[in-house]
């Protein structure tokens, strides 16, 4: 089948998509956007998190056909012409990235949090990121990075 949707503000068309393919597979293997990651492919780890019409979803749990006509934003689309998004800058600065495999999903989830909750408490950060596994950092630097990202965003960065 053919699937047509918008990814990071660009119209995309994927042809010969098998009905069982996930949005994650189409992004990674057909559209050349491997930013969203394939750590578990069953919705447990959050590393494939992308925005679908502005709502964070696990791209591995979305059938490609469900994206038809909708808007997807991936980690590749977080930065703007002005530079890195606050979450990206903060994760890089605070040591929240080690192997980095969980990072794309965490960035989308954290970006959503600080958009909804401009000054999140630690409890709110933990709750928001509870579905994103990280095996390297022990999460301390990730908490710090989300606090910092909220500051950067509030300061208009």
């Amino acid at each position: 089948m053919r699937v047509r949707f918008s990814v990071n503000d660009r119209e995309q068309v994927a042809d010969d998509v098998w009905e069982g393919e996930s949005l994650l597979f189409v992004l990674r293997e057909r559209l050349g956007l491997p930013g969203a990651k394939n750590a578990c492919e069953q919705g447990e780890c959050g590393s494939c998190t992308v925005y679908l019409d502005g709502v964070p979803v696990c791209a591995c749990l979305v059938a490609a056909g469900q994206a038809q006509g909708r808007e997807v934003r991936t980690v590749e689309g977080l930065a703007s012409a002005d530079g890195l998004a606050p979450v990206q800058q903060a994760f890089a600065e605070c040591g929240a990235v080690q192997c980095g495999f969980c990072t794309p999903g965490l960035l989308v989830q954290a970006d959503d949090l600080i958009t909804r909750v401009p000054d999140p408490s630690d409890a709110e950060i933990r709750e928001a990121l509870a579905g994103n596994l990280c095996r390297c950092t022990g999460y301390e630097k990730i908490l710090e990075a989300v606090r910092r990202a909220a500051e950067l965003k509030a300061a208009g960065r």
Binding site: W18, G20, R28, E29, G32, L33, P34, G35, A36, K37, N38, A39, C40, E41, Q42, E44, C45, S47, T74, V75, E76, L78, A79, L84, V87, Q88, Q89, F91, A92, E93, G95, V97, Q98, C99, G100, F101, C102, T103, P104, L107, A123, I125, R126, E127, L129, A130, G131, N132, L133, C134, R135, C136, T137, G138, Y139, E140, K141, I142, L143
Partner: protein, 769 residues
């Protein structure tokens, strides 16, 4: 000759500032936060096929027949291979080549690879693999490690016999010590199978070369040791197997053994097309070795005031069907089996055995983790029996510089354990739980009570880990460093084969080059086998070994540049150094720009760095100077336990670690946090559950690793007592925190519940029985 995949590793440019000791940011950080960093599973090249592996559903069975015909008939399938198609040697392995590339007539563990399929779509390949017909004769698996020790000749899983290694340690006069003991404590302890659970699945791309060779882009921990195993199996000379590190999504020991490397190579050579293999999470649980499960019996005798007189320990490690790194894991368990305590009389028997349980090998902490849980549990028992507190009983028996380990090896650099414990104890404790907010209670928002059954506990743990490979292994590293002018700026180019797996080695290499060569701009080239061996990214050794090699190569480059400077400057300066992009004389100040001294010349040097020699443990007494360096970490855990529901919340972890020299505090803290989290996982949730040799929970739904809700805030106190033998005085730092956090958390849960808790991970039923 080589076609490079579109997303192959590129130079990492580190244009910034910051040398050794600074909290320099990762040079690949921007790539990783923008989604541009290419991991092994992101590799893509025109015309590539997808490979999949058919694996055994049985723990032990004979293969009567394999019919690949139905798979070959599936449209889109390009190749189906079995052991008959292995071009060269049909077995491989880290320490012994005892593991079949593809099963030959028999399988010895669930998930053992049997056949390979390459097709134009991964689903087509998977579907075709399901069509392969295997005629099985299922056998009763051998799964009881202690039974194997009792009867190793008849309970043989493979040709090598039942026991991979038995390492005794014998010190002093046990009979006399037993007679003198005023207090005797004992215990049986066990550790379940832990998984590395790196997030980036096993993956890589094999591209056939025009010369009949192959280019492999893989996520691994040790390119050269992969090569030593891959080339003979592919029937190729080493120089025709070109290895490049692809982006690694975590490792933790799980990438020391080969996974898809030979398989992708076989499919690429057969089809003449590039082949990519990416495991999914289910397959990943079968695609790599795990941490050895352990059964341990300990007995200590002591004086009434708590001084240990003797220790008697049996440690049984189940390695599964193949040797992997079991021999070295046994050595660590034996040599570090009693921890960093002075004990004059010792009898240890450590065993690694073959069974049909899941194969086990390297994981962060490597043989020292399992014993640490037992010996720290014993220290708490001893303290209780003597009426001495947990910190004091450890201080009484603590090693220091000059103390002997169980192996007789004298600790010849600082080991300030007693001081570390004092500092740990002095750290402030967290506030009592605020039970008004459910999120603060064990179980969080799923709590069904108002905290009536919640009790707080505090526990301590101590661990000691060897750094670098032990027992006579010369695990050297090699670095090639070049200094040249690029765009008017003096630039250091660093090339090694060392695997960046997330730990920050690329950052550290740039820091060292800046410090030694006085330049800002450093380029880290992709790790490949176009340069000499760097050894493994394991045993907490890369800062020490590849750090040492980069430092040595930089020093050689610096000497050449200074010679050029002397030539140019005419004088006979003996006090020159390279600082801030300039050639600087201590007496006369800045004399010239490095860029001007270099002109269009390129100065390049390659150096190998070797650590001091060690020896194997004596096969009878276990004695010998077996370790290069030793590292200590201590933890205090504070937990809240719902004793009625069996739920545990770790409220805080505090740690004191001596790292010799803080090379990069930001990276180091990340290592301590992450290592502590993996120890928390082992204490409370992480276990591959096995029944009759079969894994019951191969998914992240059922194999739980700590989330951000499970991991508490941490307090860190990092000490710097330099090791004069090591580069910059540093001490390997990645593994020690993984050891001590587990027993500290278990001790805290014991403190809260009064339960004996002799097994990790702790399950709710252990708490509320």
């Amino acid at each position: 000759m080589t076609t490079v995949p579109v997303s192959a590793a590129k130079d990492v440019v580190a244009p910034g500032r910051g040398g050794v000791g600074d909290s320099v940011l990762r040079p690949d950080g921007t790539l990783k936060v923008t989604g541009e960093f290419a991991y092994a599973s992101d590799l893509w090249i025109d015309g590539m096929l997808f490979g999949v592996t058919l694996r055994s559903p049985h723990a032990r069975a004979r293969i009567r027949s394999i019919d690949v015909g139905p798979a070959l008939a599936v449209p889109g399938v390009e190749a189906v291979l079995t052991h008959e198609d292995v071009p060269g040697r049909k077995v491989y392995g880290l320490e012994h080549a005892d593991q079949p590339v593809l099963a030959i007539g028999e399988v010895r563990h669930q998930g053992e690879p049997i056949a390979l399929v390459a097709a134009d779509h991964p689903e087509t390949a998977r579907h075709a693999a399901e069509q392969i017909r295997v005629g099985w004769e299922v056998l009763e698996p051998i799964t009881d490690a202690r039974a194997v020790i009792a009867d190793p000749d008849s309970l043989r899983v493979q040709d090598r016999g039942g026991i991979a290694r038995h390492q005794p340690v014998r010190v002093g006069d046990m009979v006399a010590a037993r007679a003198r003991a005023e207090v005797v404590v004992s215990g049986d302890f066990s550790v379940g199978i832990q998984d590395q659970a790196f997030l980036g699945p096993e993956s890589g791309l094999a591209v056939p070369g025009e010369d009949g060779g192959i280019d492999l882009f893989v996520a691994t921990q040790w390119l050269h040791n992969d090569l030593r195993q891959i080339a003979p199996c592919l029937g190729l000379p080493d120089e025709k197997v070109r290895m490049t590190l692809a982006g690694v999504g975590g490792a933790f020991g799980g990438r020391e053994d080969l996974s898809m490397q030979i398989h992708a190579g076989m499919l690429a050579l057969r089809t003449g097309r590039p082949v990519k293999i990416v495991y999914n999470r289910y397959e990943s649980f079968f695609g790599h070795v795990h941490r050895h499960p352990a059964l341990m019996r300990y007995e200590y005798g002591a004086t009434r005031d708590g001084r240990i007189l003797y220790a008697d320990a049996e440690i049984v490690l189940d390695g599964g069907a193949y040797t992997s790194s079991t021999l070295a894991v046994v050595a660590n368990a034996a040599s570090l089996g009693l921890g960093p305590y002075e004990i004059p009389n010792i009898e240890i028997d450590a065993y690694g055995v073959y069974t049909n349980n899941p194969p086990c090998g390297a994981m962060r902490g490597f043989g020292a983790v399992q014993a640490c849980f037992a010996y720290e549990s014993m220290m708490d028992r001893l303290g209780e029996a003597c009426g001495v507190g947990p910190v004091e009983i450890r201080r009484i028996n603590a090693v220091g510089q000059g103390s002997k380990l169980a192996t007789g090896q004298v600790i010849d650099s600082p080991a300030p354990l007693a001081d570390m414990l004092t500092r740990l104890e002095a750290m402030p404790l967290p506030a009592p739980p605020d039970t008004a907010d459910l999120r603060n209670l064990p179980g969080g928002v799923s709590q069904t009570t108002h905290g009536e059954g919640v009790a707080r506990g505090v526990g301590y743990g101590v661990g000691i880990k060897n750094i670098c490979f032990s027992e006579g292994f010369d695990d050297y590293s090699t670095a090639r460093v070049r200094l040249e002018v690029v765009g008017g700026e003096a630039t250091a180019v660093v090339h090694t084969a060392a695997a960046e797996v997330g730990q920050g080695l690329v950052t550290l290499q740039a820091q060292i080059a800046r410090t030694e060569l006085g330049v800002d701009r450093v380029v880290i080239q992709p790790a490949d086998n176009g340069v000499g061996d760097a050894g493994s990214s394991s045993a907490s050794r890369q800062s020490y070994m590849t750090g040492g090699a980069v430092k040595a190569a930089c020093e050689a480059v610096r000497a050449d540049v200074l010679a050029l400077a002397r030539e140019r400057l005419g004088g006979t300066y003996e006090d020159l150094s390279l600082i801030g992009g300039k050639v600087v004389s201590a007496s006369a100040g800045a004399l010239a720009e490095i860029a001007d001294v270099l002109g269009d010349r390129v100065v390049e040097q390659t150096r190998e760095y070797h650590h001091r020699p060690t020896v194997a443990m004596d096969p009878v007494t276990g004695q010998g100077d077996t370790h290069v360096q030793l590292a200590l970490c201590v933890h205090r855990a504070v937990v809240d336990v719902d004793v009625e529901l069996g739920l545990v919340k770790v409220v805080e972890l505090a740690a004191v670690q001596d790292v010799g020299k803080i090379m990069n505090r930001l990276s180091l803290e990340g290592q301590i946090h992450g290592g502590s989290a993996q120890g928390l996982g082992l204490a409370l949730m992480e276990e591959i559950v096995v029944q009759d040799g079969l894994v019951r929970n191969p998914s992240f739904t059922d194999y739980l690793i700590p989330t951000i809700l499970d991991m508490p805030p941490m307090r860190l106190d990092i000490l710097e007592s330099p090791d004069p033998a090591a580069p910059y005085g540093l001490r390997g730092a990645g593994e020690p925190p993984t050891l001590s956090s587990t027993p500290a958390i278990v001790a805290a849960v014991r403190d809260a519940t009064g339960r004996a808790l002799t097994r990790v991970p702790i399950r709710p039923e252990h708490i509320c029985r």
